[in-house]
């Protein structure tokens, strides 16, 4: 228990036998720095489970097509499941207003400069949603390929979107997100003729980093590949 002097249980203030010359001693801590967020995420997870809601945290760089895909998804699933949405953005209500046109319940979170959503923000948003009427719940994270992945929100699934214009080499540069997700959706497939995105190379890279995550390929604009995505949702909700 001594590391190096065994003072884990050192609650007394009298002279300490292992003290160094300066009277300092070391305390092993080994605590995750994001443990407070993890705790809040656990509470969200329980709260969502109690309402039988499957929650999907959607992450991507800005403009990869999260909101567009969600709108197409809500339209396609109308009458089968009741989608709810939490929109995360640094500022503005723009994306929530777009989602609201579909009729789905939506809450906008503005992080005010923050580069990711965290579990307490989602907790507050849950109170503003009619949870009894929702399943699944999509959380559109702040557009950012780096930060959101470190913050558990209490979701059931994490999904990364990567749009064709961003290029197939992104897992090399941002391994954390591609390693952590349950599904990857390559978006804007309609742009393939204009760009050199190598889908086979991307699949191979994903297979090498995270073989459990399927890779889907679609365009919310033309509808190509949408059936696979809708199938994945229906299967997992």
């Amino acid at each position: 228990m001594c590391d190096p002097c065994g003072c884990e249980d050192h609650v007394h203030k009298h002279e300490h036998p292992h003290e160094t010359e300066t009277g300092a001693w070391k305390i092993p801590v080994v605590q995750k720095i994001l443990s407070a967020n993890d705790q809040a995420a656990l509470e969200n997870r329980e709260h969502l489970a109690a309402h039988n809601i499957t929650t999907i945290n959607i992450m991507s760089s800005p403009g990869a097509g999260k909101t567009t895909l969600l709108m197409a998804t809500i339209a396609a699933l109308e009458g089968t499941v009741r989608v709810g949405v939490i929109e995360g953005d640094v500022a503005s209500q723009v994306d929530a207003e777009r989602i609201a046109t579909t009729g789905a319940p939506v809450v906008q979170i503005n992080t005010g400069g923050g580069c990711h959503l965290d579990a307490p923000m989602v907790h507050r948003a849950l109170h503003a949603l009619p949870l009894a009427e929702i399943d699944p719940l999509f959380i559109e994270n702040v557009g950012n390929l780096i930060c959101p992945v470190a913050f558990d929100l209490g979701q059931r699934y994490k999904v990364a979107l990567l749009s064709v214009p961003e290029g197939h080499d992104k897992p090399y540069k941002y391994p954390a997100i591609f390693e952590a997700v349950d599904l990857v959706v390559v978006t804007k497939s309609d742009l393939m003729p204009y760009l050199d995105f190598d889908l086979d190379a991307f699949r191979k890279l994903m297979q090498s980093l995270n073989p459990k995550a399927p890779v889907l390929f679609l365009s919310a604009q033309t509808g190509e590949g949408m059936a696979d995505w809708l199938g994945w949702i229906v299967e997992n909700v």
Binding site: D3, W25, I27, C115, C147, V149
Partner: protein, 116 residues
């Protein structure tokens, strides 16, 4: 961008442990940060220097232990460090592997003092 909130948690956790131990000062804090986590040393240091005055951790040294990304090859079990866009196993040339290190983000230890 997010290092302010993160540094606040570092400080909170360190102070909790120091108080539990009956210490009056924190003289050092050691963080372990994997290269796959998105946290920047300089930025944490910046906020640490900003937040610590007037707390138990005023003047404390912040130490960083960086952990490189480590793959375990799925074909031959070899453990290796990917280098940039070279993810091939040095032993069998398979691509990538299971990530076995590089995601760390925790406080390893603190050094404390009592002034008597």
């Amino acid at each position: 961008m997010h290092e302010l909130a993160v540094t606040e948690s570092v400080l909170k956790i360190a102070i909790e442990h120091a108080e539990q131990a009956g210490a009056e000062r924190i003289t050092a804090v050691t963080l372990v940060i994997g290269d796959m986590s998105s946290f920047v040393d300089d930025s944490i240091q910046f906020y640490f220097d900003l937040l610590t005055p007037g707390t138990l951790a005023e003047g404390a040294q912040l130490h960083f232990k960086r952990i490189a990304i480590q793959f375990r090859c799925r074909s031959c079990e070899e453990e290796f460090e990917p280098r940039g866009m070279d993810w091939t196993c040095p032993k069998c040339c398979a691509l990538g592997g299971t990530v076995i290190a590089g995601k760390e983000f925790y406080i390893e230890s603190i050094v404390v003092k009592s002034e008597e």
